[in-house]
């Protein structure tokens, strides 16, 4: 038997495969297509205090080996989430991580303060890195003091593990990871989407209404791996690796580069069963490599 469990600070997961925020909704639609109880966990869509209607269409477009999105954090807001989404999430036999996005430090704190009472939520992932909203979002993700302050203030209102989701749109991501660690953050998620754009050459107009969007999918995998490695080599903090994972090989690669767990995003749109398949693939891989505890794979790179 291979021990698939991993530890992210105080948070224990039955296996290292999580579904990424914004790519599983609140769990209910994708649950029809895959068995969520097999997964290490799911991260819910970014929540803000009040509902957000999101950006006007067109919100998504395909690019070379990737896609751009400018959803604009469309979400039901904390109140409706508690009333309408938590009851379903409670029934799932998997770890629920609640992702929060906000346009001010106070809003991050307020959301966490309200949600921390919900038993179904095992941990928080704080999104300081959404490229698609005017207020907040990247403004925070680019600013060391802001990331430090958000981590510190959010930690003060919850006993649950706090994971900060970092932006790749900075020159030294490890400095941000260090700020998270120094302020009591339990882990970092790396990475959120990269800022990108695309134009229609016949109309000369941007393909998405917001002009720029967040790039995800296989196109960003090498960048994401490099960010995970940079953090792993410079800061002692658990890392959840994200970016372009399509199969178990990609997941193994992220763990080797320094990730304790991984999140898969865009692939859920294409193959809603990808999470389950990745876990099966990792088990086979561990057998072949005579790895008894999958956690031993983390940062096992030989450079």
């Amino acid at each position: 038997m291979i021990d698939l469990s991993v530890q992210i600070g105080k948070l224990k997961l039955k296996n290292p495969v999580l579904l990424a925020s914004g790519t599983v909704g609140y769990g209910n639609e994708i649950a029809e297509l895959t068995d969520l109880s097999k997964l290490g966990g799911i991260v819910t869509k970014s929540l803000s205090l009040k509902p957000r209607i999101g950006n006007p269409p067109q919100r998504v477009c395909e690019t070379s080996s990737g896609m751009l999105n400018a959803i604009g954090l469309a979400n039901v807001g904390v109140e409706v989430f508690i009333k309408e989404k938590i009851p379903f999430l409670k029934k799932l036999n998997t770890t629920i991580i609640c992702n929060i996005a906000a346009s001010s430090v106070e809003e991050y704190v307020e959301c966490t303060r309200i949600l921390t009472r919900e038993e179904a939520i095992a941990a928080f992932e704080i999104n300081v890195s959404c490229p698609n909203v005017k207020d907040g979002g990247l403004e925070f993700g680019n600013n060391l003091q802001a990331v430090a302050q958000i981590t510190n203030k959010v930690k003060a209102v919850t006993d649950k593990p706090v994971i900060i989701k970092l932006s790749p749109n900075v020159s030294r991501i490890s400095e941000f990871a260090k700020a998270v660690k120094d302020n009591g953050g339990d882990a970092v998620s790396a990475i959120n989407t990269l800022v990108g754009t695309a134009f229609d050459i016949w109309t000369k107009k941007p393909k998405i209404k917001n002009v720029t969007g967040g790039l995800s999918g296989p196109a960003i995998k090498p960048v994401a791996l490099a960010k995970v490695l940079e953090i792993s080599r410079n800061v002692e903090i658990p890392i959840i690796g994200i970016g372009g994972i399509m199969d178990w090989k990609d997941a193994a690669e992220f763990m080797i580069a320094g990730a304790s767990a991984v999140q898969i995003g865009t692939v859920n749109f294409i193959n809603p069963k990808a999470g389950e398949e990745i876990i099966d693939g990792l088990i086979e891989y561990c057998k072949k490599m005579s790895i008894g505890r999958i956690a031993d794979l983390t940062a096992s790179y030989e450079i």
Binding site: G22, T23, V24, G25, E29, I30, E32, L33, K45, I53, G54, P56, P57, Q58, R59, V60, C61, E62, S65, G66, M67, N69, I71, A74, G217, P218, M246, T266, N268, F269, I270, N271, P272, K273
Partner: protein, 251 residues
């Protein structure tokens, strides 16, 4: 909702640019309703990355049919499929046309490949009078497969009415004066916008909308369409793709 690894049974070229693909997908075939769609993975590799949405054109026993025209790389690859090739299909997705209710004549109005969902709809409408308006660029682009009682309109006048399909409907609708009609529309946005304007406060009308999509089943929030009442959006993939014409704002 199922993901089915299905097998291509046949491919037929309908006209200059349009194809009909028959695939064996028993679970989807048994549960599909007219106006619903499927999300097809057109290749087994990561290129193209995303699935492509297609209306289910027709279904019989264990098979479903898709009618499509070549737009870009994805549809080009789909057009090259041969019997025996594998295709991963996700469906049925969305809510289809609502065929229940009080009307005696169904008026189907389709522009270009927008006629794709009509064969299955036509079958489902058994017992109702049907008039189908089919619009196309020119005679060699007119599609009639699986449809009944067809009136054609072509932009260049090479077949039927000379002009667009909405103008054609306007010029013919007096013939339906004594009927209780319900309109079912599908096609490009400008056509549906014109139809919506025509239908407003006048006809019972349902429109099948298109939108760029990533997931097709409600998890990415990528396919919004503006609500006509109140703030915010519907999701085309989950709340649609068929909407009552007065419920949405077409941009």
């Amino acid at each position: 909702m199922y993901t089915e690894l299905s097998t291509v049974e046949s491919r037929e070229k309908l006209n200059g640019n349009a194809y009909l693909l028959k695939v064996k997908a028993p679970q989807i075939a048994k549960s599909i309703k007219p106006g619903q769609f499927c999300n097809i993975k057109v290749s087994e590799t990561n290129y193209p990355l995303l699935r492509r949405p297609f209306s289910v054109c027709y279904a019989e026993e264990d098979s479903v049919y898709f009618m499509f025209d070549i737009q870009g790389e994805g549809t080009k690859m789909l057009a090259e499929k041969k019997p025996g090739d594998r295709l991963n299909i996700l469906g049925p997705l969305g809510n289809g046309f609502d065929t229940e209710g009080d009307y005696d004549t169904a008026v189907l109005i389709g522009g270009g490949i927008g006629v794709a969902p009509f064969p299955l709809l036509t079958e489902k409408l058994e017992g109702k009078e049907i008039v189908t308006f089919v619009g196309a660029r020119s005679a060699d682009h007119v599609i009639k497969w699986g449809m009944k009682n067809i009136v054609t309109a072509t932009d260049d006048g090479s077949e039927g009415f000379n002009g667009n399909v909405i103008a054609c409907f306007q010029s013919e609708v007096h013939k339906l004066e004594k009927r209780k009609i319900r309109i079912f529309g599908c096609g490009p946005n400008p056509m549906l916008k014109a139809l919506q304007k025509e239908a407003i406060n006048k006809y019972d009308c349902q429109l099948s909308m298109e939108s760029a999509m990533a997931c097709g089943f409600g998890i990415c929030q990528g396919c919004p369409i503006k609500k006509s009442q109140g703030e915010g959006y519907y999701l085309v993939c989950k709340d649609g793709p068929v909407f009552e014409s007065d419920k949405i704002i077409i941009e």
